[in-house]
Amino acid sequence: MARAAPSVRLQIVAAKNSALRDISFPDLRQLYRGKHIPISGLRVIPFNHPAGTPDRVGFDRVVLGMSPEEVGRFWVDQKIRGGDPPPRTIDSVALLLRVVAALDGSIAYVREGFLTSELKLLTIEGKMPSDSGYPLVY
């Protein structure tokens, strides 16, 4: 009997001194669809993982509801219709975390265990990653 693969929980992080504390799931989806959403008076800048990495694929499925192929088509179509550009991609988690730590208003998602002292965890609609019903699980 095949054993189910363990699920991965992703956590949203921001700079330690950021005014951001919590983010709603719709806002998260809007941000990663390229929309400009102010939260707590801040212009939030989302950063993304490279296409094809497991966490990016899982995040896109959970948050955007799209497969990697659909995500690819979505951004090309957005480009052609003159829509919002995609969040910037940073292809190293270490660099990603440093950028988020340095750039107030920026956010990113990482797996548990990647939190550093320069970052803080954001709740999603009041839920911590350990809470039941936490949405960023794939």
Binding site: G72, R73, V76, I80, R81, R88, R98, L103
Partner: protein, 504 residues
């Protein structure tokens, strides 16, 4: 510079500097839209000063410094396993991250902030676009008049070559311009306007003085849109310039890679709404858990012979659109749009007036030659659920001419008219090679054309998208133009349409 902007500029400078450490160690990450994410600067962030800007990609000119300290966090944990998308290989660099600077001054020097803020910055221009290559054959019955009226000989063609110029001008400011390059007017065959049946194709030949006076066929360009956006809030975006009219689905989504079939349906290209307008557009979007509501309101020159830069009456065109999107079961979008305006065409004449007791003076008069009032309504629906796509648009356009200023063609005076039509498209994107079989049905009453009866059209085809940027289309399209009517233009037009469309 406001304090927040200063902090952002410094942070962006840090981002650029940090990127440098990895320039030579890491290939460029390729997100599905090439040049869109990892290449482009984020539009929502101020441009870093050139002196502090790091390249987005690895280059030999930007070597990584040696002696970087050990990383504070590991690289992508599973990056080696995953590559369903064409992502560049993500390697775990040794000694990944530099030590974090204590502050900006420690990192850049005591005057870092001043230098960053006083250095000139300039928005980065980003180029992109799309093009398509087609082969179209008229396969109507040989004895049907339609076999001779359009696409008589099977032909290859380049249809669109559209270039986008994108620039994030500043925080909340954005520019988008789109230009289409054309082979036209060379060889174009317009319908006869004033009687007669012979149509001489336009000859754009010219002797090229730069090539020993050999013959050159020149082409044209069409400015599709030039829009400057100011977005102070998600609920309030101001768009200034020339923009595509926010109506339905495929008037804005007009790029050939995004259109499922080879051609857009009749009603999209027939001008039931102005395709584009020059003026001001205000829009906004509210997003909830699974619902979005959005609006557009427009005011423009309306339609006219040169509405891109001149309004020949005092009636501005006004319009709007509202839509609702629900993502509970896939993505369902419903929208309605409206437009109202006045078309006026005038000649320009000059004369001399002599006021009593004064010297003669030059005056201009603008006699009206054509005028009508118009009103357009539209509704659209689009549902995407997993691989399924169902979409439809319906439009109605009413035209009422000003008496005395109606058009005439071949001795026929045009009556007021109400044109309407709709289309329905259904397709399903299979999980293999991006293949989508699709079928369409459309109906249009051609009320604006005096000699053309109502028409319907059906088509079946394949839209194959093996890569997000590459689309191959195969379509069999049958138009039934009033086959049983008495109008002179009637018959059944059957065509095989193929197209290769790419985004770049």
């Amino acid at each position: 510079m406001p304090h927040d902007a200063m902090r952002s500029a410094r942070a962006l400078a840090l981002l650029g500097a940090l990127s440098c450490f990895f320039c030579t160690q890491r290939a460029r990450a390729v997100d599905p839209p090439p040049g869109a994410s990892s290449v482009a600067a984020p539009s929502d962030a101020p441009s870093p000063p050139p002196s502090a800007t790091a390249p987005d990609t690895a280059t030999p000119q930007n070597p990584a410094p040696t002696g970087a300290s050990p990383a504070a966090a590991p690289d992508h944990p599973n990056s080696a396993q995953a590559a369903p998308e064409p992502a560049a290989p993500v390697r775990t660099p040794p000694n990944d991250a530099p030590p974090a600077p204590a502050n900006d001054a420690a990192f850049y020097g005591a005057n870092a902030g001043d230098a960053a803020n006083s250095a000139p910055s300039y928005p980065k221009l980003e180029l992109s676009g799309f093009t398509d290559f087609a082969f179209i054959a008229n396969v109507s019955n040989r004895h049907d008049p339609e076999a001779t009226l359009a696409y008589q000989y099977p032909s290859f063609s380049i249809g669109n070559l559209n270039l986008y110029l994108n620039a994030a001008l500043a925080d909340s400011w954005h520019l988008l311009a789109e230009v289409r390059f054309l082979y036209l007017p060379q060889g174009s065959e317009n319908f006869p306007q004033n009687g007669g049946t012979q149509v001489v194709p336009f000859d754009a030949g010219a002797l090229d003085y730069a090539d020993d006076n050999r013959l050159l066929n020149w082409g044209g360009i069409q400015i599709q849109r030039v829009q400057i956006d100011f977005t102070p809030h998600p609920l309030l975006n101001f768009r200034f310039g020339q923009w595509l009219t926010p109506v339905g689905i495929w008037n804005v989504d007009h790029g050939s890679p995004t259109v499922i079939g080879v051609f857009r349906p009749y009603i999209i290209g027939q001008g039931l709404f102005p395709e584009r307008q020059t003026g001001i557009q205000i829009s906004g979007e509210w997003a909830g858990e699974s619902n979005q509501l959005g609006y557009f309101a427009t005011v423009s020159n309306g339609r006219g012979p040169s509405d891109e830069y001149a309004d020949l009456d005092n009636n501005k065109g006004v319009g709007g659109r509202i839509y609702w999107n629900n993502s509970a079961y896939g993505s369902l979008t419903l929208g309605v749009s409206a437009y109202k305006g006045t078309y006026s065409s005038r000649n320009r004449e000059y004369g001399v007036a002599t006021p009593a007791g004064a010297a003669p003076e030059l005056v201009g008069v603008n006699p009206l030659t054509l005028q009508y009032r118009e009103q357009s309504l539209a509704a659209d629906a689009r549902w995407e659920y997993q691989g399924l796509l169902v979409q439809s648009e319906a439009m109605q356009h009413e035209v009422v001419y000003t008496n005395g200023f109606r058009p005439e063609q071949n001795g026929t005076v045009f009556a007021d008219y109400r044109e309407r039509g709709f289309y329905v498209l259904a397709g399903y994107r299979l999980p293999w090679f991006g293949i989508m079989p699709f079928a369409t049905f459309e109906d249009y009453n051609f009320a604006s054309q005096p000699f053309v009866p109502a028409a319907t059209a059906e088509s079946v085809g394949l839209n194959i998208r093996p890569e997000p940027t590459v689309v191959v289309k195969l379509q069999y399209h049958v138009s039934q133009v009033g086959p049983n009517s008495d109008e002179p233009l009637r018959g059944v037009l059957k065509r095989i349409l193929t197209q290769l469309a790419v985004a770049f």
